[in-house]
Symmetry: C2
Subunit: 228 residues, 2 copies
DNA sequence: ATCAGTTTATGATATATATCAATTTGTGAT
DNA sequence: ATCACAAATTGATATATATCATAAACTGAT
């Protein structure tokens, strides 16, 4: 009797394994591990050896680099379907950045060797990974340029819209990050992040309840994001 | 008698085609086109359809995005072995950035369809492309973070060292870009780029002869790059 | 050789952002 | 409930960078 593999039901299967046969999935399934993380847990840490191919099933994470002086620079926030460990997984022995859960998260981890084996033997799978990787790195690079061209207010507006449009799809949401982390993401100081948020609040563009944000004047926020 | 294919002698063959058989090379060779570009020529333009897989055989190019307001943001400078058209080639129909020669350059262009066919049938080749792509996008992302964490002087020092260490490997070199382009690369104004260069000159760290730069105090430049 | 346009350069000033200091609010551990 | 510590907030001030104006030097086309 054939062993049942839970990957058959994985909602990511269509995307990730669209071109992998049942047999191949069965073989991957053996080494597959699912892991749960609380807010604040490291999923992996900069400098550690890359052993697994990891993708995010649920939750929200931040990718960041820790500089020599201990300061953190946030590269990007990633949600499910954004393959967390994709960047540099095929070119480096060790992680060049860290990934931390900023909401309760679940990952599915495969042995990197198994994934490489599959790439070598299954062209469709290789092409799927290439496409995904191309998309992910493209997005990270574009995001960085988008942020760079804006001033403080524009950057804050951009970040709020990013959470509203891409992540929570709702005018009301809980910020999954501290003001300090927003600062690390947009490359400005914590104080100025707070000041910009306060300005938006005073102008009636948003409401603030601690970590919770309500976007009141969506169009104004878009305008600030686009024209400062 | 077997037709001779010039790819056999291509200096990039080892890197790029290390895992491609003679027969496969022969097949690619048919559609392969070599193109020459003068300084200032577009190699491809943002928005245009992606039809070719392009890599740089010789010369130097800049990758940049043109914003809605006509301003340019330079993503990166690429030299041979950095595959120019790698980013987004597998995930998008149209180029999301432009590439222009900033020195006389030669590219080798393959049909994107042929490359995709090869990925599907040759696992080793697919893996090679994945590794290369991983490296390239990693480098672009890291570069962007490196620049972001520095102030004006640090950014200029970083750029000068980039040209000196990675591109020309010589204390004396001709800047392949205008002051304005440096500004577009580091995200500051042209005037401030000029001012920083003038400061370095006055401090005896570099000599300036128009476009030519001589690095006199290499160690000081490294220090400025690292600690502002 | 000349002209027009761009690049480089410099100074004065305005503006944006960082830094420093002090206070309040929120949070987790005991 | 309390304590210790991190996060959020606000104000005053310093600093860095942008903007505006002007001019010299360079470049390409005629």
């Amino acid at each position: 009797m054939k062993q049942e593999c839970s990957c058959d039901q994985c909602e990511l299967k269509e995307l990730f394994f669209q071109n992998v046969s049942s047999n191949e999935i069965m073989s991957l399934c053996g080494s597959r591990i699912e892991k749960n993380y609380d807010k604040g847990d490291y999923i992996f840490e900069q400098g550690k050896s890359i052993q697994e191919f990891i993708y995010l099933k649920s939750g929200l994470v931040k990718l960041f680099i820790t500089n020599a002086d201990g300061k953190e620079q946030i590269l990007s926030f990633a949600k499910p379907f954004d393959f967390v460990s994709l960047l540099s997984v095929f070119s480096q022995k060790n992680y060049s950045y860290s990934v931390m859960a900023i909401e309760e998260s679940t990952t599915c981890n495969l042995s990197i060797l198994d994934v490489k084996k599959l790439i070598l033997t299954n062209g469709q799978f290789a092409m799927g990974i290439l496409e995904k990787m191309s998309k992910v790195s493209d997005a990270v690079i574009k995001e960085s340029l988008q942020i760079r061209k804006r001033n403080l207010r524009g950057r804050i507006a951009y970040v709020l819209l990013h959470f509203r449009d891409d992540i929570y799809k709702n005018d009301y949401f809980e910020l999954p990050v501290s003001r300090k982390e927003i600062a690390e993401y947009i490359g400005m100081t914590t104080e100025n992040v707070i000041r910009a948020l306060t300005e938006f609040r005073k102008d009636g563009i948003i409401k603030i309840f601690g970590k919770a944000i309500e976007i009141v004047e969506y169009k104004k926020l878009v305008q600030i994001s686009e024209h400062g």
